[in-house]
Symmetry: C2
Subunit: 455 residues, 2 copies
C-alpha cells in the first residue's frame, strides 16, 4: 500500500550552530564527503526505493532551491519545493506547509539527519497500521553522539509517552525519522493554537491521544549533524563504515584499507563526482596492475621492486572503487561484477609478468609450470567460493584464517614482499601453493559436512 | 499442516500383463534403469520430502516384503507393510486395508506409476481444503501413452464428474496419484457393499457426493507402466529426460550426451549402485583427463592423438555422473560442486600438457604465454558466468551460440580435433581466444544493459 511513500524533508530552519557564518553555505548545502547533507538524505531515501520528495525551504531558500533542477536530473527523483515563510515559528510550521500535498502515508525526515537506506524499510515494516504516527527511535542511548543535545523519548509498550530535549526519564532517542498520516497536521495545528510551533509540540499532542508509536532502529546507522563537531564525527563515521572487518583480508584490513579510505575521501571531496566514477577507479587500478606486471617481465631487482610497488598501489586502489561507490550512493551490480572480473585478469597478468621475468634469467620450462600452478590456484580459489555460493545458496565462509589466506590482497602483497627480498617468483609460487591448500581444505570441509567456519 | 503427508502405495495386485511369467519378479520389483518400480515410487515421494510409507501387499507378498528392511536403511524412510488378503477383489480393498493407520490427509499412489517429485508438491498445493479428495489428472490427453488402456476422467469446474476406463466423453486422464482424507474409506466401503471392490468405484461414489476434485498435472512427467511395451517406453523416456537441450553445448548435445546416456544406462543396469556412485564417476572422468594431459606432454602425433581421445572420453564420462545421479535419485549439491571444481582443474592440466608437449619441439617462451592465455580464457569464461549469477541473482544466459562456444565440451573436442589434424596446441590457442572473445562479448552485453540473450 505505502511501500514507497513520498518523503517530506524539513530544510527550512537556520541551523545556526553549524552555520554561524553567512558566508558559508546554508546547512542543507554543507558537504560531507562530496555530497551535501540534503543530497545524502535524498539518496538514502532513494536507496530505499523512494522517488517523490517534498522539501520545505525557509531560511536562505534562494540559495538552496537552484540546486534542485540538477538533482532531479542526476538522481532521477521528483522534488517539489514547499516554501514556508513562517519558518521562524518552529519546524512544526514547516511540516504543516506540506499538508495541501499529502492525503495518505508519508515519511518525514530532517535535512541534517544522516541514515542508512535500510532504516526506511524497517520503519515502514514496523509501522503499517495507519492508526498512529511512528517515530524511529534509537534504544542505544549510551552510544548516541551528543546525548545532551538529543531529543529524548520515553517508550512504553511501543507507544511514545513523553518526548522532549530536557526529559529526565527516557529510554530512547528521537532519530528524526517519522512515518506519518495526515492526522499529524491536525495535531500540529492544535499545538500551534496553544502557542507551540515545533514538531515536538504536535508529536506530544499525538502522544496524549495515544496515536504516537515507536519503531526500534536496531543496529542501523543514523546521526544528527547539528554542530561542527558532529560534522567531523559524521565524516569519520562514514569513512569507518567502509572497513569490512569480516570480509577484508589481513593486508587489506591493516594496510590497504586505512590508506584507500583516506584516498577515497580525498577523491570525492576534491574531484567532481562525474569525473571520478567507481568504474573509472576500477579501470585505473587494473592499469596499474597491468603496468606492474609488464615491468615484472623485465626481471632484475630494481625494476621488479618498482613493479611490486605499482601492483601494491593497484591493490590499494582496488578498494577505492567500492568505497567511492558506497560513499556516494553509486554502487552497482555491474560495477561489482566488472571489478571482480578485472581482479582475476589482473591476477593472470601478474603471474605472467613475474614468471616471464624469472624465466629470462632461468630459462627452464619448470618456471612456466610453476606459473601455471600459481595462476590455477589464484583463479580457482575465487572460483571455488563463487561456485559454492551458487550450489549452496549462500556465500562461502569468508571469515577465519584460511579464508583470508586465499584473498587477493595477500597475493599481491606477497609478490611485493618477494620483490623487496629479491625473489618475487618464489613468493608467487608459495602463495599459489597456499591457494591450492586453501581450496583443498575447503573441499575437505564441505565433503565432511563439517562447515565449522562461520560465514 | 500436511505439507508432508504419509503415502499409501498400492502394490497388492497381480499386474498380469507385465508379469505373465511366475519366474519373473512380481511387478513392484521389476527394474527400470537399476531401480525397481516400487523403489522409484518411494524415491519420487522422498524427493518431495516425504518419509512415511504404507505399502499394501497381496500377490506374491513374500517376495516383496523381504526387500523393505534394506530400503528402510538405504533410503532412510519408514515403511509399514499392510497385508491385504482380499486383493483379488480389487484395488479398493487394498486402499481400505490402510484405514486403521490413517486419521488425516494422505497420498495414495500406485506401485507402477512413475512420476516426478515435483508433482507431489503441485498436488498438495492444489488440493489443500480438506473438503474433497483430489486426483492429479493429465490434460494432455493426446500425448498420453497407451490412451486406450488409460483411466479416463471428465473434469467440470475442477470437479470430477465421471471416471472410468471406457469413458467416451473425457477431457483428462487419471495419473493414479491422489491426495485423500479418511472419508475416502467410507466411499470405498459403500462401493464394496454395492459389489464394486475397485478404487474407481469408491472415487465414483465421492464424485456423486461432489467430493472428488481434480488437480492439473501441468507439464510434469508421469507414466503408467502396465505392459512390457510401457516398460520399454519408461526406460526410453527416463533416458531422454537426461538431455538438457537448453544447457548442453554443441558437442555435448550431438555427440557426448547420446553416448553418455547409453553408458549411464548400462552402468546402472549392470553395476550395483553402491559400487558406482556419481562422485566416483566424476573422479574417474578426472583421472582420464589427467592421463590424457600427461600423454599430451610427450608431444608427437600418435601419443597426442591417444591423449586427445582419452580427454574426449573423459569429457563424455563427465556427463555420466549427473546422469547416474538423476536416474537413481542421488543428486547432491556436493557432487555438483565437486564436479565443476574437477572440471576446472581438468582444464588446467590439459592446457599444461598440450603446452608442454608443443614446447618440447618448439622451445620458445611464447608457447607458455599462449598456454597461460588459453588457460585464463577457459577458467574465466566459467568464472564470469558464476560471478554474474551471484551479482545478478540469476544464471547467465546459457542459450545462444556464444554461450555454447565457451563451454567445456567444445574446448576438449577442439583439442581432440587439433590432435587429429596434428596441431593440438594451435587449436587450444584458438578456442582460448574464443573464450576471451566470449567473455568480452558478455561483458559488453551486460555493460550495455542489452541482455538480449534469453536465459
Amino acid at each position: 500500500m505505502y511501500a514507497r511513500p513520498p518523503v517530506v524533508i524539513l530544510a527550512a530552519g537556520r541551523g545556526e550552530r553549524l552555520c554561524e557564518d553567512e558566508k558559508k553555505p546554508p546547512k542543507p548545502l554543507i558537504s560531507v564527503l562530496g555530497l551535501t547533507l540534503l543530497e545524502r538524505v535524498i539518496l538514502s531515501c532513494k536507496g530505499a526505493g523512494i522517488e517523490e520528495f517534498f522539501i520545505v525551504l525557509g531560511y536562505r531558500e534562494a540559495e538552496i532551491e537552484p540546486r534542485f533542477p540538477e538533482w532531479r536530473k542526476k538522481y532521477k527523483v521528483s522534488i517539489t519545493t514547499v516554501k514556508n515563510q513562517d519558518w521562524r515559528n518552529g519546524n512544526g510550521t514547516s511540516a504543516l506547509a506540506c499538508s495541501p500535498f499529502l492525503s495518505s502515508a508519508f515519511l518525514l525526515v530532517m535535512c541534517d539527519h544522516l541514515f542508512d537506506p535500510q532504516v526506511i524499510a524497517r520503519l515502514i515494516a514496523g509501522g503499517n497500521d495507519g492508526e498512529a504516527c511512528y517515530l524511529l527511535v534509537d534504544r542505544r542511548t549510551e552510544q548516541v553522539f551528543d546525548i545532551e543535545d538529543a531529543t529524548r523519548v520515553q517508550v512504553q509498550d511501543g507507544r511514545i509517552s513523553a518526548i522532549g530535549k530536557g526529559l529526565e526519564a527516557y529510554n530512547a532517542v528521537d532519530t528524526g525519522i517519522f512515518l506519518c498520516w495526515p492526522f499529524l497536521f491536525d495535531a500540529l495545528r492544535q499545538a500551534q493554537l496553544e502557542g507551540d510551533g515545533t514538531l515536538s509540540g504536535g508529536i506530544r499532542g499525538l502522544a496524549k491521544q495515544k496515536r504516537m508509536k515507536a519503531v526500534d532502529l536496531g543496529e542501523h546507522f543514523w546521526l544528527d549533524v547539528d554542530t561542527p563537531k558532529a560534522l567531523k564525527h559524521a565524516r569519520k563515521l562514514l569513512m569507518k563504515r567502509l572497513v569490512k572487518t569480516d570480509e577484508d583480508g589481513f593486508i587489506s584490513q591493516w594496510f590497504n584499507r586505512p590508506l584507500s579510505v583516506r584516498f577515497s575521501a580525498q577523491l570525492i571531496t576534491h574531484c567532481p563526482s562525474e569525473q571520478v566514477t567507481p568504474n573509472m577507479i576500477s579501470l585505473a587500478s587494473f592499469f596499474l596492475i597491468l603496468l606492474g606486471a609488464f615491468l615484472f617481465g623485465f626481471g632484475g631487482y630494481a625494476v621488479s621492486l618498482a613493479a611490486g610497488i605499482l601492483c601494491q598501489i593497484g591493490s590499494i586502489m582496488d578498494g577505492c572503487d567500492g568505497e567511492v561507490a558506497r560513499l556516494t550512493f553509486r554502487t552497482s551490480r555491474f560495477g561489482a561484477w566488472m571489478d571482480t572480473l578485472f581482479d582475476r585478469y589482473g591476477d593472470a597478468v601478474i603471474v605472467t609478468g613475474v614468471s616471464y621475468g624469472f624465466w629470462r634469467f632461468h630459462p627452464t620450462p619448470w618456471v612456466w609450470l610453476g606459473g601455471i600452478f600459481a595462476l590455477t590456484g589464484f583463479l580457482l580459489a575465487s572460483y571455488t567460493k563463487k561456485e559454492y555460493a551458487i550450489r549452496y545458496g549462500g556465500g562461502f565462509p569468508n571469515k577465519g584464517v584460511w579464508a583470508k589466506l586465499i584473498k587477493r590482497d595477500l597475493r599481491i602483497f606477497m609478490v611485493l614482499l618477494g620483490a623487496i627480498l629479491g625473489y618475487p617468483y618464489f613468493f608467487l609460487l608459495a602463495i599459489g601453493a597456499v591457494s591450492h591448500l586453501g581450496i583443498g581444505r575447503l573441499f575437505w570441509q564441505v565433503y565432511k559436512g563439517r562447515q565449522t567456519v562461520t560465514r
